[in-house]
């Protein structure tokens, strides 16, 4: 029985339950609604919730554990002597990767996916068992869900009485639903952090954290053979973070003044009509995919800067930090300007009136009243923009270089944390080499940095909000 059909049946049951519950409540009310605690619809909803919710919870748990259980049973059902890709051995002595491969092969064969290696009778036999078990499992699940739904219907239907506070119960169910929704987001974050953490730990068992955090040389290629060239395998993250910082600083030098001035112009000077056109246009910048910015930076801006540098006698790398930083700054302008615009608009008009009423000009008012009042919020906006710039990937992957150079010269090529993560993880990575694992350590540190920035920024913005609302 397919999952779609199961869910459709459940939905139909829920709808029926709603009408049953409401009908019974109406019958109880016998024409005079006032005897019931809640409107009949709430009794219907209460019944519907009791049908759908327990069955759905069961469904979610079942499908999250089903494959593990089925695979376990399949594994235990295999003969003691097994063959994996030409190797034959005792089942119990098989290395974990080999075991995983065999099980994956069985599951893939069962579902018609590509199987690695030849299809042995063992795999065929396992796959048949796999399919049988899976079908059985979904039937058991459907039956269990049906029982739960029926029990829920029965209990909720019988509980319909004038004194039952269906309205309050429905309210509670809604509260729980909303709480679950917000928990999902938080749990996902926790999951991401944990997965980062575990891989980073694996990295730190190979490379000491001190070397990683304070080392001045980054050269992640590790030697496969002794005599290989350029395979030093140094994992000092300082140059990588320095590159990120350099590009971020350049981006902020572009984005903060331009974004802030644009926001001031739009919120204080521009007429309503102009504002209505310019603001969306500016926000279009935010809608451009970063990969488009990336090739604009790599193919248009970087050569332009290099040629301009050549004219005045400067040596500019063709993948200069300046090009990446400039374009990243442009990408962030709408971010800064729309946040600042909101913050400037939140400064009460009465303060501006007060200043105008004292004979101050517009720019005096902005400089001495509006901006000081908005400053905490603007600082928050800038910090959010910084954390955005640090985490930005696509532009730097395309426009910044790969060589980890410890430099503050914007005409040099630098690399960034995100670029290193991408290059170390794409392709065909080996998960036991420090080169691959270093991506997780970089990611973890990057995450911590942006997290701190975001927390500080939100704190600052919050403090500012408390003042005027």
């Amino acid at each position: 029985m397919s999952y779609g059909a199961i869910l459709a049946v459940l939905l139909a049951l829920t709808v029926i339950g709603f009408y049953l519950g409401r009908g019974r409540a109406r019958a109880l009310a016998a024409g005079s609604r006032t005897r019931l605690h809640s409107l009949p619809g709430y009794y219907g909803a209460h019944v519907a919730i009791w049908i759908a919710l327990p069955a759905l919870i069961l469904f979610v748990f079942w499908i999250s554990f089903q494959s593990a259980i089925v695979e376990g049973i399949v594994w235990n059902g295999l003969p003691d002597k097994v063959t994996v890709q030409g190797e034959t051995g005792q089942k119990e002595a098989l290395a974990p990767e080999r075991k995983r491969l065999l099980i994956d092969n069985i599951a893939n064969y069962a579902t018609g996916d590509i199987v690695s290696g030849e299809i042995t009778p063992l795999v065929k036999q396992g796959a048949a068992r796999f399919l049988r078990l899976q079908a059985l499992s979904s039937w058991i699940m459907a039956a269990a869900m049906a029982i739960l739904a029926a029990l829920g219907l029965l209990a909720a239907y019988r509980s319909v009485s004038p004194a039952m506070r269906a309205r309050n119960r429905v309210e509670r169910a809604i509260l729980i639903l909303l709480m679950v929704a917000s928990t999902v987001a938080i749990l996902t974050t926790v999951g991401i952090v944990l997965s980062l953490l575990f891989e980073a730990m694996a990295f730190f068992t190979k490379i000491s954290p001190v070397d990683f955090l304070f080392g001045l040389e980054w050269s992640p290629q590790t030697a496969i053979r002794e005599d290989q060239v350029g395979a030093s395998g140094a994992f000092g993250a300082i140059p990588v973070f320095a590159g990120t910082m350099l590009i971020t600083v350049i981006a902020m030098i572009v984005a903060v003044p331009v974004g802030l001035f644009a926001a001031i112009y739009l919120s204080e000077y521009a007429s309503r009509r102009l504002r209505a056109t310019v603001k969306p246009v500016l926000e279009v910048l935010a809608g451009i995919p970063t990969v488009v910015y990336g090739f604009f930076a790599a193919l248009t801006v970087a050569p332009m800067i290099r040629d301009a540098g050549a004219v005045v006698g400067l040596t500019v790398a063709s993948e200069s930090a300046l090009a990446a930083g400039l374009i990243m700054g442009i990408m962030i302008i709408p971010f800064v300007s729309s946040l600042s615009d909101d913050i400037i608009n939140a400064v009460p008009q009465s303060l501006r009136d007060g200043s105008y009423g004292l004979g101050a000009t517009r720019s005096e008012t902005i400089r001495q009243v509006v901006l000081p009042a908005a400053l905490p919020g603007i600082v928050g906006a800038v910090l959010l923009a910084v954390s955005r710039a640090i985490g930005e990937t696509m532009i730097v992957v395309m426009a910044a270089g790969l060589s980890a150079k410890l430099t503050v010269n914007p005409f040099d090529a630098v690399t960034t944390v995100t670029v290193q993560i991408v290059t170390n993880l794409t392709g065909d990575p080996e998960f036991d080499s420090p080169k691959t694992l270093s991506a997780f350590a970089l990611g973890l540190v990057l995450f911590l940095v942006t997290l701190c920035l975001n927390v500080i920024a939100l704190r600052v913005v919050q403090k500012y909000r408390e003042k005027y609302d």
Binding site: G354, S355, L358, G359, A360, Q368, V369, A373
Partner: protein, 277 residues
Amino acid sequence: MDEIAMENIEAPPAAAIAEPADAPEFRVKMKTRNVNVHYAEKHALRDVSLDIGEREVTALIGPSGCGKSTFLRCLNRMNDTIDICRVTGQLELDGQDIYDAGVDVVQLRASIGMVFQKPNPFPKSIFDNVAYGPRVHGLFSDKSDLEEVVVQSLRKAGLYDEVKDRLGDPGTSLSGGQQQRLCIARAIAVGPEVILMDEPCSSLDPIATARIEELIDELRQNFTIVIVTHSMQQAARVSQKTAFFHLGDLIEQGETPQIFTNPRHEKTQGYITGRFG
């Protein structure tokens, strides 16, 4: 002018309605003729002609939306900051047309100060709030001079004794009534000739209101004051002249006692006796 003001701070306030014995003869400070205001399509003020006497308190009364605040905002061209607002007619300060193309609006607002309905101290210290105007206009020679201006302004606004030990505290830390007096001090510090007050007591409790009313009566010695108010008792207590607005028209104007005891117009009568509005 400082001497007089300081003496008056100490002296008990003069009786609210009575003319001072040494009152100079009536002199028109601001003259308005046929003032019309449009907000986009809406005709907010129709042919208002009103004379505002020097060193007097003129009260503008009327039901909400009658145009009294709009008229007040014409007097220092605050309506300029609203895009859709159009003002026509003749408005003069000491015989000078204030809507003339050559008029420096910024300077005009320095000589016609304004106090708003809701106290709106800047998010700065008490001192910096009062020093704001002098700083913007460069009205002082050195630091001690600026301090003198700030202290004098706070004295005239009757706030100095309450805040003299904490001039560095934020202006927003004061109570509502104190904040409003701070805003008055801030307006005084620029050295205006006219002070416009737009319902200055509407967000204050009765005690703070009484304190502001006393202050208005003291300020009359040195400043021409125009006050918009919803409270007829307040108009009666603080003003010498009263103008009654209704639906964008100036219905009646005259001496305050006459307006309140013997209104000529039926609508005025209706409003002050509380039959509408």
